[in-house]
Every structure is written in C-alpha cells, then in structure tokens.
Symmetry: D2
C-alpha cells in the first residue's frame, strides 16, 4: 500500500473525497511529474535536440503542474472544491498536451513512449477524480 | 526594470504575448507565492493557531499554484494556450479563495492584511493576462 | 519497474551514476515528498494543532527539499557533482530532522509513524547515493 | 518595501535571524528562480540549441533549488539551522555553477547576461545569510 493511501487512512477528520480514488490520483500525479522531468532531460541529451524543443517545453510545464497538483490533492483539511476543480482541469489539459507530443516521438525514442504512458495514466486519474467532485 | 521584463525583452524569437502584461503578471505571481508561504508560517506562530487552520491550508495551496504559474508563464517557447488558459483560471480561483480568507483576519493580523493585498494584486494580474489570451 | 528506472534505462547518453541506486533514490524522494505534504496536512487537522507546529514546519521544508531533489536527481545531462553533493547533504539533513520529529509523535498519531518511515527510507537512499559520488 | 520584509515585520514571535538580511536574501532567491526558468526557456529558443544544453540543465536545477530555498527561508517558526545551513550551501553552489555557465554565453546572448547577474546577486545573498548563521 502506498504512503498516499496510508496517510489518507490515518487522516484525523472525516475526508470529503473517496480515499481510494484520491490515493491512485496522487500516485499517478507523482509518477507523471517525475517522468516528465526525466523525459525533458532525456530529450535534452538527444543528438537532434532541436527536434525535441516542443517536447521539452511541454514536459517542463507538465512536471510543474503535476507536482503542484500532488501537493493540493494531498491536503484534505478545509477542502476547497473551487480551487481543486480548476486545478485538475489545468492538470488534465497539460497531461493531454504533453502526452500527445510524447506520443509523436514514441516510435523513435523509448523515453518518450514511457513518458506518454505516464501522461495517459495521469490524464485518466484526473478525469476520475474530477468525476467524483462534479 | 525587473529580471522578468529584461528576459522577455531578450527572448530570441517573436513572443506570442504582450511582454509588459506578461512581466507584471510574473512579478505579481512571484510576490504572491512568497507572501502566501510566509503568511502560512506567520499563522502557524499565532497563539490561537486553531483559528488559522483554513488560512494556512489555502495559503499553502496558493503558494504552490502561484509558483507553478510563474514557471509556466516564464516560458514562451512553443506557447500552448490550451495549458496556460486553464492554469491561469486555477491560479485566479486560488488567489480569490486565499485572498478572501486572509481578508477575514486582516484586522487582527497584519501579516494576513499584507497577504490579502498580494493575493488581490495577483488576482488582477491573472485576469489581465487571461483577457489578452481570450 | 518504476518510470524512474525505465527512463534511466532509455537515457540516450552514457550515465554518470548507477541507474539502480539512482532510481531507488528518486522513488524514495518522491514518496517522501508526498508523505511530508500529507503529514503536515494531517497534523493541521489534529485537535491539538499547537502541539504539532514544529512537525508541520519540518514536514513542509522536507516536502519542498525532496521535491527539488527529485528534479535534480532525475536530470543526467551535464551532471554536476558540485551541485548534487551539497543538495543531497541538505536533503539528508532535512529527512533526519523531520524523521526525528515525526517519530516523537508516532505512538500518538499513525500518520506521523508513516511519515517517519518515509523519511528514514529517504535518509538511507540519500546516504547510498552520496556514497557513490564521494 | 517588499512583501517579504513586511511579512517578516509582522511575524508574531521573535525571529531568530536579522529581518533585513533575510528579506533581501528572499528577494534575491525569488528573482533568481524566475530568471533561471526564463533563461532556460530563452536558451531553448536559440537557433543553436545544442550549444545551450549545459546552460539549460544548470538553469533548471538552479530554478528548482532557489524556489525551495525561498520557501524554507520564508519560514521562521521552529527555525532549524541544521536544515537551513546545508540548503544555503547547496543553493550557493548551484548559483555559482549556473552563473559561471551563463557568463560564458553573456557576450553572445543578452538573456544569459541577465541571468548571470541574477545568479551572482543570489550567490552574494546566500553568502551573507550563511555568515549570520555560522
């Protein structure tokens, strides 16, 4: 069981969101943030780095947005759906955009294939969590 | 002139957004991120910390979201309005929510008054930038 | 296999560090960052929040430092031991300090016990990686 | 007066560090984080991006480390010199390394000249703050 799930289980108050959905979203976000940071760096080491510029930029954005979304979703105290909702929408948009670009390079670069997979999984997780707060 | 403005002026390609609007948004976001981090800590040092729990939580979220929005708005290469738009909406929502809570404590705690001011300025900056990308 | 390991395996150049040690460090850092963010929030929801002030502060620091260390260790291109070394020392110090404080509350609060475990694992991972770059 | 200084002035307890030194360090760190993020992006837009790979990598690290150091220095509650000291050393090392690389490109690229200036100012600020906690 991930730390995320264990920490949701030991939350001292009653939670507003389903712990299982939340924990799998947090894990997907955390993995996606790391994958995007690593993929931007892998891109930077490619011989033809100029072909990877768009991928680098979108990976950097996606890493930053996922990292912040890990933090906000990890907080349950004084839950504010007015902040979480738009943030999940932004994170979803970033995962779609970054996942699409990574997929374009997936046949050529294994690191982009892995990153696209992380983005798609995170995209699904954001959609699932959004569905529970609608 | 802030570093943000100088770095926008020396961007090697043609920018998609107005440099003046962008630079003042970046500066407002950066100031707001710091103010929210400091205010959460000031709240934590208050004698009656239990009265400040909601303020701490919203400040922590707002600091994280503003920090990420500084990074995304500081990048001009391969500009993606599909990511920037929703992120600015999320940042705006966070500044409104945090600014409202800080204002409730502004008469009692000077640090909350300062933080509310930083949130209001950042809220206006996000609205201005959103207006230029609509 | 974690994304971290897969992305290290598909790095286009020759890496400076052992991929296995690096991947397990990245995973431990990423888990610790999330655990510290969640534990700070769990502390904030405790009835006697004033008893948790030190724990909250150290968790917030540790979350920020681990998050940054995930990013820096995830980058292999133009590896700079002069930056990585001191950063791992800082991360180690933060995990020790936060782990000690969480342990003090572990009997009373399950979330602090879980967070202390995440900090201890991350402390060991930082020491292992430091040993390979010494 | 910056928000950082105003928020230090309204801290409810007695501070461990000199507010003037701390506020100017926080401002320098915050500016340096933004400058490094923007410079990495400017580098990414250069025609000869392969010549800028090392600069991009060091700027990304320096942005992340300065951002975290803003957060840790903005917290005064339960001040822990055992964490702050090593973190400032890591931040100093990153500013030196990034500043050196940016300076190499300063004649050719105005954005690297600006970023080098931000790194040098931040390096001095970290040294000043380190001198007060020694």
């Amino acid at each position: 069981m991930s730390y995320a799930m264990q920490l949701l289980d030991s939350y001292p108050r009653t939670a507003d969101l389903d712990a299982g959905v939340l924990a799998s979203t947090i894990d997907a976000l955390s993995d996606c943030a790391q994958a995007c940071t690593a993929d931007a760096d892998d891109d930077l080491s490619e011989l033809d780095v100029s072909a990877m510029v768009k991928c680098i930029r979108l990976c950097l954005d996606c890493a930053d947005i996922c990292t912040t979304t890990v933090a906000v979703t990890s907080r349950q105290t004084e839950y504010d759906v007015g902040v979480l909702g738009p943030l999940l929408e932004a994170c979803l948009a970033s995962c779609v955009s970054c996942g699409n670009e990574c997929e374009r390079h997936a046949m050529m670069h294994e690191h982009c294939r892995v990153c696209a997979e992380a983005c798609r999984r995170c995209e699904r997780a954001c959609r699932n969590l959004l569905a529970t707060i609608a």
